[in-house]
């Protein structure tokens, strides 16, 4: 009997499902449903409806990739959280009114000794007012990764007193940086109510379809965690979708090393697979101005995609993105007057109607409501009302677009693809009209415009790829310059009489996403001929969700103190040893226990385990090797195929 896994991508415009057959690791089914943002479970239901009952009943495990956390942070939405800062009164800049903050004296020093005694009486005195109306509380203390004592004491007190969920900063990363720790723990607290809703609604849908087995959630590094763990550590789902997409690309391509270029409507994500592993961003995820300690795939996002605005930059010439616009071919479907307006523009290009130097630009009413074309002139009553009865100029229009009050529609790369017959989407006529207007105005022919747009997008992709591949190399700037030069010259190498320089990508490239066939391979053709596009590229996220591994990590640091002692720091606290060897031995024991506990929480007892020992050392003037500190990193992985890992396949619910 076959056993199947269900991958769900509940992130964007579409909700994708993919079914993988665990017996031969092939994708046997995939669906795509339009997402209803208010009721995201409906699209999952609709997708499951289309899958045969026979297949559904043999699904043993489901896994979900979600952009929920990323979007919440971008939009600054989430539960109301409390933040207790111990030993550092500096509140991170971005923390706003939705967070109640309490600062306490306390914290530790670099060696883990107490910097100041913990001010418990202030906590006792304030706890009631502080925790009022709060969903969850984050507790962060200075150098808690060297000694978590104060965090643990405060957390226990708050839990006992209020019954609220309390999150300790040191549990997310053993890395230094108090502020990042605070932001990570704070967002984890704020995301809990959101992830609860998502897990509940997804579990309910799966239950309705009699789907057995546990529900997993994809983390930002592409690995999986159970829904139960996700409820405690939702912040780790940051960048879940893009990370799953890289997993998917690896699975579809069977390539162990590749550059993955995933092109969507608004942005393009670029990532690297090395030895079958996604390259990890060691600095932690940054979303907007929020810097976190969350481990994630190293994904470089650039502001170009199929729906990027094409515009004329006075200095740089033709430019694409980072602003996006509604493609004309789609706008024409939403409002039948779009085509006639474009006809009128074509007859006479009216400079006053311009915005962002794209002559095809027109505006639709508020997104989300029923979209109507705004009256022909930007000086309409409707717009004036929006702008508090002041006359509207181009700058005001841009402001209204940026505040999402009106929707800007313009010629985009998607329109060009539709007009040239490379893609089927919406109204071909509207796309052709837009292309006509643009080329007439610029006095170029269609092929020239197409080449320029491809080049501009390609150049941006290449520069981002160089930055990713050559992060720390000293020649980064030189290589970027050379890539730029080769792009402008459309040449594979720079040649002088006795000199030749070229840039070769030694990896193959995988293009994903709907606009990928038109842009990705072409973008990188000067640097590599190995470029692959896959049929399943649309559903790579859903596939990636179900082919990921469960991965756990734990970390221990051993420091040499001037008293000649070795101090071991772990999330369990600190302990002193008289020799480094003893400390390492103990560290290994602790790590094994920490990993076993984490895996047990996922119901996993059989896993691949590895510990790396890194010494930071130097030779002193007498030639003796002196160890300054030792880092022990433990990793454990397990796949989620049934039989091998899950003891109880019949638990659908996480509650």
């Amino acid at each position: 009997m076959s056993s199947y896994g269900l991958g769900i991508d509940a992130g964007g415009t579409y909700t994708d499902l993919a079914i993988i057959d665990f017996t031969n690791d092939t994708v046997i089914y995939s669906t795509k449903e339009l997402t209803n943002y208010d009721k995201p479970h409906l699209a999952i239901s609709a997708g499951l409806e289309k899958i045969e009952k026979e297949v559904r009943s043999n699904i043993m495990v489901s896994s979900l990739a979600t952009t929920l956390a990323t979007n919440a942070i971008i939009e600054n939405k989430g539960g109301k959280a409390g933040l207790v800062l111990i030993g550092c009164e500096r509140v991170p800049d971005e923390v706003n009114f939705s967070t109640s903050v309490l600062t306490l004296q306390g914290g530790h020093t670099v060696s883990g000794s107490e910097k100041q005694p913990l001010n418990f009486s202030k906590l006792k005195h304030n706890i009631e007012t502080f925790s009022k109306g709060i969903d969850a509380i984050a507790v962060v203390s200075f150098f808690s990764v060297r000694n978590p004592d104060h965090e643990l004491k405060v957390a226990k007190f708050i839990e006992d007193k209020t019954g609220l969920t309390v999150i300790c900063g040191h549990t997310f990363s053993m890395k230094l940086n108090f502020e990042k720790r605070a932001v990570t723990a704070l967002w984890n607290a704020r995301l809990i109510p959101l992830i609860e809703k998502l897990v509940q609604s997804t579990t309910k849908v799966l239950r309705n379809f009699n789907i057995k087995g546990p529900l997993m959630i994809v983390k930002g590094d592409g690995s999986l965690m159970s829904a139960k763990t996700a409820l405690e550590r939702p912040v780790e789902t940051l960048l879940s979708g893009p990370a799953a997409s890289i997993n998917g690309a690896r699975h579809i391509s069977s390539l162990n090393d590749a550059l993955v270029v995933d092109m969507g409507g608004t942005t393009t994500d670029i990532a690297l697979i090395q030895n079958s592993q996604v390259k990890i961003n060691s600095d932690g995820v940054t979303i907007g101005n929020w810097k976190t300690h969350v481990r994630s795939a190293d994904i470089r996002t650039i502001g170009v995609g199929g729906d990027s605005l094409i515009w004329l930059d006075r200095d740089e010439g033709l430019s694409v993105g980072p602003l996006k616009a509604e493609p004309l071919c789609m706008a024409a479907i939403k409002d039948t007057r779009v085509e006639s307006i474009l006809q009128n523009i074509k007859k006479k290009i009216d400079q006053t109607r311009w915005s962002n130097l794209n002559p095809t630009t027109l505006y639709l009413e508020k997104p989300g409501e029923e979209r109507k074309l705004l009256p022909h002139s930007p000086y309409s009553e409707y717009l004036q009302k929006l702008n508090k009865n002041k006359e509207i100029g181009i700058a005001e229009l841009d402001k209204l677009v940026n505040s999402n009050s009106i929707l800007q529609c313009s010629l985009t790369p998607t329109d060009i693809l539709v007009a040239l017959g490379e893609m089927e989407l919406g109204s071909v006529d509207a796309a052709r009209l837009g292309l006509d207007i643009f080329t007439t105005y610029l006095e170029v022919d269609i092929n020239d415009l197409w080449n320029i747009v491809q080049n501009v997008i390609g150049n941006k992709i290449c520069i981002a790829a160089v930055n990713l591949l050559c992060e720390d190399c000293t020649a980064k700037q030189a290589i970027s310059n050379l890539v730029n030069y080769l792009y402008v010259e459309r040449s594979q190498s720079f040649k002088e009489e006795h000199l030749k320089a070229k840039v070769d990508l030694t990896f193959p490239v995988i293009g994903l996403g709907a606009p990928a066939p038109a842009f990705v391979c072409q973008a990188l053709e000067l640097f590599t001929k190995q470029c692959y596009l896959f049929d399943d590229y649309d559903t790579s996220v859903a596939i990636g969700a179900i082919v990921g591994l469960v991965k756990k990590e734990a970390y221990v640091k051993i420091r040499f103190s001037e008293q000649g002692k070795y101090t071991l720091h772990s999330e369990k606290g600190r302990k002193e040893f008289s020799s480094q060897k003893e400390a390492v031995l103990y560290g290994k024991t602790i790590l094994k226990e920490l990993i076993a506990t984490q895996m047990k929480e996922e119901n996993i007892y059989d896993y691949h385990y590895q510990v790396d020992v890194n010494n930071k050392s130097f030779s002193n003037n007498h030639g003796n090797n002196i160890i300054i500190e030792t880092d022990l990193n433990a990793y454990a992985t397990s796949n989620i195929k049934p039989d091998s890992v899950f003891n109880d396949n019949n638990t659908t619910s996480v509650y």
Binding site: V110, L176, N177, E179, G564
Partner: protein, 214 residues
Amino acid sequence: MSGYINQLKEAILEYDEVKANSIAKKSIEEGLNPLDIINDAIRPAMEHIGDRFSSGDVFLPELMLAAQAADVIVSVIEPEIVKQGAKRERVGRVLIATVKNDIHDIGKNIVSLLLKSAGYEVFDIGVDCEGDEILAAAKEHDVDVIGLSALLTTTVSKMKDFLDLLEEDGSRNQFKIIIGGAPVTEEFCKAIGADGYGSDATHAVKLVKKLIGK
């Protein structure tokens, strides 16, 4: 006017504090721009003697004598700079300290003096300094570079501790960190992630110049 500049250079290269003092005073009386004295006399002279020290042509006592002569000139012209309200171009600010549990100050003082004579603003906060103390002073004086000195193999670990403190505090990118002292090596510098290691005092000055770009 250029006569004074040359004479000031000579005073430094001849280790002549008395001459340095009198020429500096005369040149100020004659209306010479004090900033020109720093840029055209002191810096080039100190660079010259620094190079000779590096190549082994002169030794530490000579280097110190030259720096002391330069320091005399600086102390004469500094009030004039303040009086004129001349905005001394910000070449760079350096904080210097010997780490906790280490009371050796000779190396630190030499570096301090040479940096001053090279035109940098130097904040020397002394010996036996706690990390917290160094960080607070660095922030208060808004310095570009922090120089740490240690003479004992047992206290070099404090340098790594200080870098950890900067990481935890989130201010690692605000400062360039340079280290020096008998037990310190280039390998140690790399291992702890400092920005530079000065093998001797003139090297430290060159390092600061390279890191600040001035």
